[in-house]
């Protein structure tokens, strides 16, 4: 590493990014490129000789930036947000500079210890159950994504049920159990549950959600009883607080009680909505989380920490260690009993110093600053709702507790018509939304995503939606 070069090139790079953020509103949120656009713009092989860093920066606009979908644009209303902040970027610069790989305590003590501390901070800030604190049997870990958190939870649950069965009958193997093992989730749960189950290879039973897109205790009880009658083995429920299609909330309190009675692992996925629990007025939504065995939410969605940072907790950390412990000598050290070896808590071995950016963000904004950010987004969503309510052509569908997502459609329109509306909006390219199909209804999702989104942007988005809808309705 050449320190002078780092300063020189790093400053160029920071300036580029700062300019990007200053001018992001002037860029079309969706690029106009066609697949394969980049190939002709770049050489067909890596350069033999070094190039100037300034040359790379000069090339960016004409190559890379042409094909960027601007997730941080105030005209981006798709998916769910991916968070960002200068504090998080600085945390990443430090993490990249130190460049340690914190798979065990000795591999870099502060990398493990800061993670333990900030994950405890989050337990307190979100008012999560105390058993998730590192001071007891539980603990928190930063995973890359919610998908990894869900997979790791299902694996820990599988390990627990296998151990229990083997205690009764030591001849039982995973193969003998696999076709009987059942994971439950809502038909509204994220595709990461499908993927985790695909990897584990067991059965997934999706419980049909009610009109609020939520699942409840009696449905779960019925499903478990049906499955037990078929000689199946229910072992895990992934409940959702804030689903992807409509931000629906499962009845975790009721479901959790069933899980406890039935000895089923309860994982609660609050990937998006979890950040809102930092506001006391939304903590009632955590009701029932005291039944959970594990929990995750993504600070990288809505808490100003950039991707990747998915916060996960487990009630009893021995289940991680049982599920993942492989211990070669070159990784052994004398401290494994006194500090968590996070390599046993995750799929990868290596890990970056991601707690730095979480620490930087929590300190730079303070809990009050993060609450302000969350509340502002919710207010903007409410503003959009008020626009919809005053236009009879539209209806709000699947209204949930309002977070930053609003689901809507043309009230008297067919799915086909609403699909046309979505397509017309995305071809227009002034704003970007993605749809969802819920209960056979094609719906449009508007999510307040960017840190830069203000009242004027919501007004602007609404005007575009009205304009495109009017054009469409006149045509048809």
């Amino acid at each position: 590493m050449d320190s002078d070069q780092l300063i020189l090139s790093g400053q160029m790079m920071l300036k580029f990014v700062a300019d990007y953020w200053r001018t992001i509103e002037n860029r079309s949120v969706l690029p106009s490129v066609q697949p394969g656009y980049l190939q002709p713009l770049l050489p067909s092989q890596a350069p033999e000789e070094p190039e100037q860093f300034s040359q790379i920066i000069n090339d960016l606009e004409s190559t890379i930036m042409q094909g960027v979908t601007h997730w941080q644009s105030p005209y981006f209303y798709a998916y769910y947000p991916t968070a960002n902040s200068y504090a998080a970027i600085c945390g990443d610069i430090l993490s990249a500079g130190i460049a340690c790989v914190g798979f065990s305590w000795i591999a870099s003590p502060s990398c493990t210890e800061l993670e333990v501390i900030v994950m405890d901070w989050l337990v307190k800030a979100l008012n999560l159950p105390e058993f998730f604190l590192s001071t007891g049997n539980g603990g928190g870990v930063i995973q890359g994504t919610a998908s990894e958190a869900v997979l790791v939870a299902v694996l820990a649950a599988r390990s627990r049920v296998l151990n229990r069965m083997q205690e009764k009958d030591s001849s039982i193997t995973l193969g003998k159990l696999l076709d009987k093992l059942v994971v439950y989730c809502s038909d509204q749960a994220h595709s990461s549950v499908d993927k985790a189950v695909l990897i584990v290879g067991c059965k997934l039973r999706k419980i049909v959600s009610d009109n609020n897109c939520s699942i409840k205790a009696d449905q779960l009880e019925q499903a478990i009883s049906d499955d037990r009658a078929k000689d199946l083995i229910p072992f895990c429920l992934v409940a959702t607080l804030g689903s992807t299609p409509t931000c629906a909330f499962d009845d975790v309190a009721g479901l959790g009680k069933v899980c406890q009675e039935e000895n089923i692992w309860l994982h609660v996925d609050a990937a998006y909505a979890g950040s809102a629990f930092i506001c006391p007025e939304y903590q009632y939504l955590l009701n029932g989380v005291e039944y959970s065995d594990s929990f995750n939410f993504n600070p990288h969605k809505w808490m100003l920490v950039n991707f990747d940072c998915s916060a996960m907790w487990i009630k009893d950390r021995t289940y991680f260690i049982n599920a993942f412990n492989v211990d070669p000598l070159y990784l052994k050290h004398d401290y494994s009993k006194v500090a968590p070896d996070y390599r046993h808590w995750q799929i990868p071995l290596g890990r970056r110093f991601r707690s730095l950016k979480l620490w930087f963000v929590l300190r730079t904004y303070g809990l009050s600053g993060i609450r302000k950010h969350i509340r502002k987004h919710i207010e903007l969503a409410k503003l959009f709702i008020s626009y919809l309510e005053n236009d009879k052509r539209f209806e709000i569908v699947f209204p949930s507790i309002t977070m930053g997502l609003v689901c809507f459609r043309l009230k008297d329109g067919s799915n086909e018509l609403n699909e046309k509306l979505l397509k017309a909006l995305n071809e227009d390219k002034r704003i970007y939304l993605v749809p969802s199909m819920v209960k056979q209804r094609f719906i449009l999702r508007l999510v307040v995503c960017s840190y830069l989104t203000e009242v004027k942007h919501i007004e602007y988005a609404w005007n575009i939606i009205k304009e495109v809808a009017t054009k469409l309705l006149t045509k048809t």
Copy 2:
């Protein structure tokens, strides 16, 4: 995002990192802290109000830096290197600034397309088989770690064997097969194979390596034939080019032929040594890779790209898509047939724009610059070998093709004595090494790791090793 704040804080952060690199030699490579050191130094909960960014920077030395193991120090000779460079850090700054999540083409076209292009560049630069190029049925993808690459390979192999069995008998389920499925690897293979097999839940058969710590065709053939006689189903071999304990190379050419004949998925893990294939003089080591179904190496180990960046290729990309495809409407788009949807190539859904740092590094150093870096490390390892050869108290053990790792021990010493030597060296804290236990022999591993390592550092390390050994041998 406040652009001015980004510039201001970012520059402070860059300066801190640049100073860190300038003074890294003055720091003890191993910290002196005890487990739990950080807790009393930080508040027990997150601050309510915002703090100044400069305050955070001011706190770093007295808190975080006290507990850092300095992986980038020229006195760090442990594990394997984790790469770094100013170019890679700049790539990460840009990735963090754009902050898109490139799980599909439309989610940010350049994020997918640049990855396709630079992964093709690497195929050509390393002289990997042409079938890995995106222009055919294959393709490359950036995984987070080699652990994920190995897991994903085993899952693709499992999907292939299951499909084949189901073609013959549609009543076959994964559960019925699981207890029969066997993965093979060397007893020298990385713990990531154990972890992948633990997750999949099938059997792992470790083949006893020869005196060079390498496995060969006849041993694999024997193992397969034994297992088939037991009604087991061999379906995957993970071969290693450059093992973790001794940098041993399996006989991939021989093994590959067996895999082809036996219809077994061959995954080649060249996590560390793969970077050396960028030098034509080491490409002969790729002999046999033409039999592989998938291949990975870690640019984040030895190719100046910082963690995480594990490059992986597959011969037939449909196996990824078969293994991982879950397709909800909110992720569907019109382009999925013309560009890879990388979400089907990996465990997580979300992904950062990691190809930027690979692109920056390849351009900033050029292939010639990267070759220079690799060759320099190998020369330094050879220098250390020459020291060992001239001191009769030591022996070089398990000599392999020399990369950056040298394995050695006190020639006439017991395992216990060598363990004492390693312990004394790490308690001394002037340099940091980790051991390995190979063929019942406790060995010391010295790996040239840092970009900053020069002849003088190898001399220094050697002098410390001699000094500590002399002290130890005098005592005993």
